[in-house]
Symmetry: C2
Subunit: 206 residues, 2 copies
């Protein structure tokens, strides 16, 4: 709701007739992507939802294409930031940490689902856009390695940790695609934990 300001000082902030910044357009685009996908991002519609005309848009952006690339790039940098924070939070107890991670990954409720839907749309875009695909590969690798680092602290077999991490990460991605709506997060978390338990036990006893 708070309008982002670029160069202005002490803005009224909450006045409906505030000047728009680049981020405001990006936020509006983000919303429509999460709701209807990238192909539904129209300059005309965004302008209407922001209460201005397209004249504003073509001042902040040179092009429709630039809006898309800027949106993707912003997502990438933010994703890297959250990854860094997750890395720093990696020094806690392994098991509770993993459970918290599963919890977060399966929490399709509230505002989280918006980010999930954006990412799904982004994967759709990545299938036709090589640069977006490269970014997705980068982020996927990042996350899988994070998973791997967590599993590595529960077992002594590095290959097993990599396999489990890949399997679980892919299952989580698949879970966001295969079900239109969350379905049954509780039961899902349960069997993920059980399988982890089984696997680690079989590791330690072998």
């Amino acid at each position: 709701m708070k309008a982002s300001i670029s160069t202005a000082a002490i803005p009224p902030d909450d006045v409906p007739t505030a000047r728009l910044g680049r981020d405001d357009w990006l936020d509006a685009a983000f919303e429509t992507v999460a709701e209807s996908g990238f192909d539904s991002v129209r300059v005309l519609t965004l302008a209407a939802s922001l209460g201005v005309t397209r004249g504003s848009f073509y001042w902040h952006f040179t092009d429709h294409a630039e809006l898309i690339t800027a949106l993707v790039e912003r997502w990438r940098t933010r994703e890297i930031e959250t990854h860094q924070r997750a890395l720093e939070a990696n020094l806690l107890e392994p098991k509770a940490d993993l459970e918290r991670m599963l919890e977060a990954a399966l929490a399709h409720a509230g505002t989280e689902i918006k980010y999930l839907r954006f990412e799904l749309a982004l994967r759709g875009l990545g299938r036709h856009n090589p640069e977006v695909a490269a970014i997705l590969v980068e982020v996927d690798r990042m996350r899988m390695r994070l998973f791997e680092s967590k599993f590595l602290r529960l077992t002594n077999d590095p290959k097993a940790a990599a396999d489990l991490a890949a399997l679980f990460y892919l299952a989580i991605v698949g879970g966001t695609h295969a079900l239109a709506r969350p379905a049954n997060p509780e039961r899902t978390k349960d069997y993920l934990q059980r399988i982890i338990g089984h696997y680690l036990i079989s590791q330690q006893t072998s």
Copy 2:
């Protein structure tokens, strides 16, 4: 390549100036969906690729929307058919059967990838279209139950079979989304099999 015929008798079949049937348009639409998604299905483009004008299209279909629904419906019926065939082939040895299934699920090569990409695009469409979403839920349930039936013949714990089936199905779906191109099918198959082995062993010894 073979042109489908609806009412004509003994067509030349292979003559470039053959009359078009409904299925020809559906085939062309299928191709573009697999390549560029549903939003890229344009009547104009399809007509150009088929070497005719839009006059032909609006004889076979009333609407652009009808083309989409017909395409989705055709996919659904075909998916049900292949599922029936898979059910009938379920009476072989469980282990070899499961391996063959994994092989098929990970075979992103050749012409298979076209069907995969179509399904990915379909999942994207299902996020905005409730009827398509319902069809996807139906097919996903079908396949997961098939997975479950296979796992059930390897363990005596029905809940474990359901969990494993869901996990693996979701991982396979996720694998088609997370990677722009197949990546490493061989290694993937390897760790899937290893994890199955571990899990079933831990089941039998507990």
